[in-house]
Amino acid sequence: MTTTTLQEALSRLWKEEQTRQRLPASLFTLLLYLPSRSLLPRYERLVHTLLQKIPCRLIWILQEESLSSLRTSVGSLPFSQGGSSLFCEEIRLETPSSLLERIPFLLLPHLIPDLPVYLLWAEDPTHQPPLLSSLAAMAQRVIFDTAAPSSLPDYAQALLSLLDALHGEVGDLHWSSTMGWRHLLATTFAQAEDFAAFAGKATLRFAYTPGEGPYPMEVLYLQAWLAARLSGIPLRLLPKKEGVELDYKTPEGMLHFLLTPHYTSDFAPSTLTDIEILGGENQATYTFKRRPHSQQVFVQHSDSYQCDLPYCRTLSEGGKLLDELFYPPVSTHYRDMLTLLASETLPWPHYQGKTHA
């Protein structure tokens, strides 16, 4: 379909909607690149959540090798908050990889003038294909989301160079999904004396439910973030039959991370369920246990001098596209975390496999 045809289809859509007394609404254009149609259900769910709050024009770019030519379609999606008077436009561009070079030209006329453009890139950015550069040049911010990078250090390094290339206007849904835990840890370790728990040798156990990909991204991000914030230098990575152990040296001692999967139907796949922090000079113990089917976490603390009553905190929900679009882009916390993950000292195993289910 040519651009003219696409424009004609949009005009027809507006006319049809006008008969229902509905107007298109959008605060921005959202481009979504998916390397495979199989990813569509996940991102349709993400978009559905977004459209419950904010209207936008959606342009999907779906790579589909079974096609021999470009295929386009236009449709409308309900915008929940607009009642019956507003709708969001949806454009789908499906293409084999051989025709990807046409995509930037095809969608350029359909970016809404004067409003932001955001790009969600649902592929491992390690290889940085030309399409990423072309689309990133149009976007105010690029949000990355990959379940299974083939090489974690390469992935982290690619994100670091993209951070520089895109002047920091980067979002990362995995990083966003750790927001609740990061805030919880920051509020728990809120005073200088609380950090005695990390002095000497501290053991940190993270339990998680395995997902489809080989890397539990949320868990890896969180441990790298914590290690980076405590000025950890990576020493050793030891893959286990299930899970992995990592050691970092800090100015105050040593951090020994144990990342362990556990299998339970109480939580969705790829969910961090428990954190236990042991040791330190005052033999402190911190336990964070997530309550099934909720955002609540029970927190309990004791050390050689006292034992506190447990209390409950609510994890802020992360992983939301909305947060990545509207909040300030990622900070030095993110950059430092990636720098640790990119460290050559940690021999992460390579993986050739699937992305999100």
């Binding site: 209207p55 908050q81 607009g82 008077s85 200088a192 914030r229 405590l230 909720s294 927190v299 409950c312």
Partner: protein, 528 residues
């Protein structure tokens, strides 16, 4: 950064102030961290606690914004147990929380943080017992001695309560504030006139520093009011014509369709002046008329607001009736249903002279606004609930268009509530061979585009009070400057009681004199 090199926590004020820099805290992205604390609500059996304060705390808890170690203690004279209070608050949250249904699991955990303390406001033994109870809670819950005392009581109790808190060492001095903090939150109105506001200020300052006192005007907690600053100062377009060269006049309306309900005692004390004009109206006026602040720091913003208040031209008492109209609602119809007049409301004196409506013409004598009248009106039992700021622009020269079909005024309306948004009325040509001019509206509706259910104002204000951020609270000079301007009006009303009361039926837009006030300038109130 070596965490053992970090300076120990010093809670002198805002949580993120000098001292310990938490390496885990991500500034600008993550929600700001709140210190452990205890919130004591005086007047815990009152309407405000049930309708606003506890539901706000519940929603803060739901959003994960309450501190990790927290307790709320209700302080009131009625006999009840902790459990009874918790049951009553559960009912209140079910009814009044913006989020529903109630999260039962969360409620169980939240309710365990609620306590009740029985005492009269002037009972020394009650304050002593409170001090011991709070100390016990500190030990049990780890709240580290940090306190917020929320005075959800009639203003007449403020001096007593603050004095007793001071006498019983529940308020900390500067030296103690190095390790823990205490803050007092009070509701508007602060005083009933200028003299009582000054007197109250003196009582308060005997026991507190200005930085410990948080004067609430809940309008400042509204998203749309905060958006005023963004609208004015994040859009260069508007600054260019935000002055007397382009603006003909400004109308600010704060209208309620409700009557006074069960608040007769409070309303008889405050009247329309203390209930709306001196606080909400003055805040909207300041935010509309202020100069751009030098920064978004709380004092920079409040400095500019005070300048507006100081530039307000005093009411000319010789021409009082041309500038000020007061009213009191009589029986009428609201939403098609008959309602009683103010004097027939429960516990209102049969011959009460309290005003429930006021319309004012104000001038701000500075370079930006000289010659631009600000028409202000506020009242109870008006046809609808609506708060808005309307900027009416000067007419174009009448050269190009026929006098039979002149272009209408351009009007920029900022709707504070309900149907929050901004609209701009412009003139367009009606399609066709002739050129009749038709006004049309460019309309932005907050709810349509952002669709988020914004936090209630009290959630934001309580959260900011816990953080020690006073941006959305009134400063003493702000309060005193607004009372200084309003008090001569009150004095005149008291000296010359209006015998025409009631002078507008409930459900109408106020007394006819209010229409004459603006009509004398060949203008008219906007129909909302």
């Amino acid at each position: 950064m070596r965490y053992h090199d970090l300076v120990p926590t010093m809670n002198t004020g805002p949580t993120q102030d000098i001292g310990f820099l938490n390496p885990l805290e991500e500034k600008g992205r993550a929600p700001r961290l709140v210190d452990p604390c205890i919130l004591v609500i005086f007047g815990a059996t009152g309407d405000l606690t049930a309708r606003k304060l506890v539901p706000a705390l519940y929603n803060l808890s739901r959003e994960g914004q309450l501190p990790s170690h927290f307790a709320c203690v209700g302080f009131a004279r009625r006999e009840k147990s902790h459990d009874r209070f918790r049951c009553e608050m559960e009912e209140a949250v079910r009814r009044f929380s913006r989020s529903s249904p109630l999260d039962e699991n969360l409620w169980q955990l939240f309710a365990n943080q609620l306590y009740y303390h029985i005492s009269h406001f002037d009972q020394d033994a009650g304050y002593e017992a409170l001090r011991l109870f709070l100390h016990e809670l500190d030990g049990r819950l780890g709240t580290k001695g940090n306190r917020i005392f929320y005075l959800a009581t009639p203003p007449s109790y403020f001096p007593t309560i603050i004095q007793k808190l001071g006498e019983h060492k529940l308020l900390y001095d500067t030296h103690q504030m190095r390790e823990k903090w205490s803050r007092v939150v009070i509701e508007k109105p602060f005083g009933q006139d200028y003299e009582s506001a000054v007197s109250l200020q003196q009582v308060v300052m005997n026991h507190l520093s200005e930085s410990q006192l948080y004067r609430i005007d809940h309008y400042l907690g509204k998203e749309t009011v905060q958006n005023l600053l963004i609208f004015r100062f994040a859009n260069s377009l508007f600054e260019a014509f935000w002055n007397n060269h382009y603006i003909d006049h400004v109308q600010i309306t704060v209208a309620e369709s409700m009557g006074i309900g069960t608040r007769a005692a409070l309303y008889e004390e405050s009247g329309i002046m203390g209930d709306m004009i001196q606080n909400h109206m003055m805040q909207l006026l300041c935010l509309t008329a202020m100069e751009p602040p030098t920064s978004l720091h709380s004092d920079a913003i409040r400095d500019e607001k005070v300048k507006v208040l100081k530039a307000l031209r005093p009411i000319d008492l010789a021409r009082f009736e041309e500038q000020v109209v007061q009213g009191q609602y009589g029986p009428g119809y609201v939403d098609g249903l008959p309602v009683v007049g103010y004097r027939e409301e429960e516990k209102v004196a049969p011959l009460s002279a309290t005003a429930t409506y006021a319309a004012l013409k104000a001038y701000i004598d500075n370079w930006r606004w000289v010659g631009v009248p600000f028409y202000l009106r506020a009242g109870k039992r008006l046809p609808k609930r609506a708060t808005e700021i309307a900027i009416l622009f000067k007419k174009v020269p009448s050269i190009l268009f026929s006098h039979k079909n002149p272009p209408g005024d351009n009007i920029l309306v900022i709707r504070i509530q309900p149907d929050e948004g901004i609209s701009l009325r412009i003139n367009c040509k009606v399609p066709g061979p002739s050129s009749p001019i038709q006004p049309v509206k460019m309309d932005f509706r907050y709810g349509h585009y952002f669709g988020l259910t914004p936090p209630e104002a009290y959630e934001r204000l309580i959260y900011d009070a816990m953080l020690g951020d006073s941006t959305l609270f009134e400063r003493s000079d702000e309060v005193l400057a607004s009372w200084k301007w309003c008090t001569p009006i009150l004095t005149r009303w008291r000296e010359r009681v209006d015998t025409s009361f009631p002078n507008y039926p409930a459900g109408s837009w106020g007394p006819p004199a209010a229409d004459r006030l603006i009509a004398q300038d060949r203008r008219a109130w906007r129909l909302l």
